[in-house]
Amino acid sequence: MTQRDKTWLFITLAIMAALMTYPAFGSFSGVSGLRDILLFALFAVSLDLFWGRTGVLSFGHATFFGAGAYGMAIMTIHVAPGAAWGSVAGLAFGVGLAGVVALAVGYFVIFGGVRGAYFTIVTLALTLIAQQIAIGWSSITGGDAGLIGVPPLTIGIPITGKVLYYVVVAVLFGIVLTLWAGLRGQRGLVLKAIEDDERKAQTLGYNTSLHLLAVFVLSGLIAGLAGALYVTGTGFVAPDMIALLLSTEVIMWVAVGGRGSLIGAVAGTMIVWRLQQEVSTLSASAWPLFIGVFFLAMVFFFPDGLPAAAQKLWARWKRMNEGRAA
């Protein structure tokens, strides 16, 4: 284990420990608010898995979060209302729906050779399609109003309140640690090679499209899981959970935390949500304006994310000080 790995593990476990102790002194609304944020963090982790590790940017990841959310809501409200196994079926249906969409779209687009900016655009359109279906197919999805009355997660017994919070923390960190461990070896290196130069990786005998598709589908499944769990907590689903704005917000969360580290996505999501609470109180336009300015600033001032920019500044500051001392 390298020094880098040790630092990563230390930070991850420290954040997890802090989150585990929070319910001991946090209020009820604080706990459920944080639970929702952690599910968005899981969503951010799913994007970071794909964008951070393969370098291909998906502009439509809310499609998978929304598929999970709508899948859970439709199953528990329309198909099996009141059934004890409703939540489990909803979980399976929501996550499955996200996976199937990721597989179908990923197959057509990734094996069609669509990469780079074009891939970003096609995934952007994917969100618009999903959003239109969510709004237009109102007999199933509830249209603009969405669906209200998703029952709490029930696996044998209902899981709510602090128990649900602990379940969410466990799922989030279980996935982060598993992904991290799974990508430390050769699999991670192949993805890195694809990010650096896909054609070279192909020449070395790797089926790069298959690798990309596998990661894309896994990423979609995780996003779907986040969405499905999210609606069991809030009890409703609405079209903004599958919208373009959410797809771009998640990019911001990952960029703030620094892409590729997985735990950075978790930290980034928490920081941005705190910020959003402050900014949104100003006016309805303030938050979209903030996002817009953030994207412009990111492109020009910190293209590799905030942590990388901070590291660079820190290194320069140290060099300056050393120069002065000498």
């Binding site: 655009i121 239109q132 771009t248 412009l296 990111m298």
Partner: protein
């Protein structure tokens, strides 16, 4: 028979608008390899120019001249301040222009409010055509849009600027060696694309609700026009617009409009799998 006539005319209306919006996108993508997510906002800006001109007592025809000028000017500013610095970073361009799009939308909301703004068509009459009655304005829109497209084709083929654009699309470094000022070509092409989108905004405004978020609708469909038709080619834009506009109009007679749009976009993704270079590549 009358149904088929009005259906084809509806399809032609949508196709005309998509052609004008997508032409800018297609040329910019073919030229510089960048994707401008704030392109839809130029449609919005065109529509709001019409509102502003009419609110100040001006006519529709004045707006039809003012809007492209506004679009050209704003496009130039955008190209010089943002796009130019990102030529070699396509993904960054997407993020930056997305940011710009959000800022422009909110700026419009803060200036004009979130409610739809009223605009009026220059004439209200209907005409009898092949056994059906059809709004004269829509017919004007179709004829005007095709005339503008024809003008663009002529400019592309016959003017020195068009020659430069085609040269840079084919091989940018070779064009530079031969003395073409590629940066100036980029700037002018980008601004012209913005002007065309603003023009399309004026034309479509009397037919739809003019809101700050209206551009997004045309942005997505235009990207599929470019995707299906092929980047950097005018025939590709026409073919792509006919595909997207025709299919959407046809489907929306039997299913809700949102479902029709979704089906068209899904079909377009399938086409990309089998013809990644588009129907009529440059």
């Amino acid at each position: 028979m009358p149904d088929i006539v009005s259906l084809s005319l509806n399809a032609l209306t949508l196709m005309s608008i998509l052609m004008l919006v997508a032409l800018g996108l297609a040329i910019i993508y073919g030229l510089m390899g960048i994707i401008n997510l704030s392109h839809g906002e130029f449609v919005t800006i065109g529509a709001y120019t019409l509102f502003t001109v009419q609110a100040a007592g001006g006519s529709f025809w004045l707006a039809l001249i003012v809007a492209p000028a506004v679009g050209y000017l704003l496009g130039t500013v955008l190209e010089v301040t943002v796009i130019r610095r990102l030529y070699d970073r396509p993904i960054s361009t997407i993020l930056a222009t997305w940011g710009l799009s959000l800022i422009l939308q909110q700026a419009i909301i803060l200036t004009y409010g979130a409610a739809p703004r009223p605009v009026t068509a220059p004439f209200e009459a209907s005409v009898h055509l092949l056994g059906t009655t059809y709004p004269a304005y829509r017919l004007f829109l179709i004829v005007f849009a095709f005339a503008v497209m024809a003008g663009c084709v002529l400019a592309f083929r016959k003017t020195p600027f068009g020659l430069d654009v085609r040269a840079v699309i084919q091989n940018a470094s070779m064009a530079r060696v031969l003395g073409v000022n590629a940066e100036r070509v980029y700037r002018r092409a980008f601004a012209s694309g913005a002007a065309l989108a603003a023009l399309a905004g004026v034309l479509i405004a009397p037919l739809v609700a003019v809101t700050a978020l209206m551009g997004v609708n045309y942005l997505a469909r235009s990207f599929f026009v470019v995707l299906v038709g092929g980047a950097g080619s005018i025939p590709g834009v026409v073919a792509g617009s006919a595909f997207v506009g025709g299919l959407e109009s046809l489907l929306s007679t039997t299913v809700p409009i949102t479902v029709a749009q979704a089906s068209v976009l899904i079909l377009a993704v399938v086409i990309v799998r089998f013809r990644p270079q588009g129907l009529v590549p440059a």
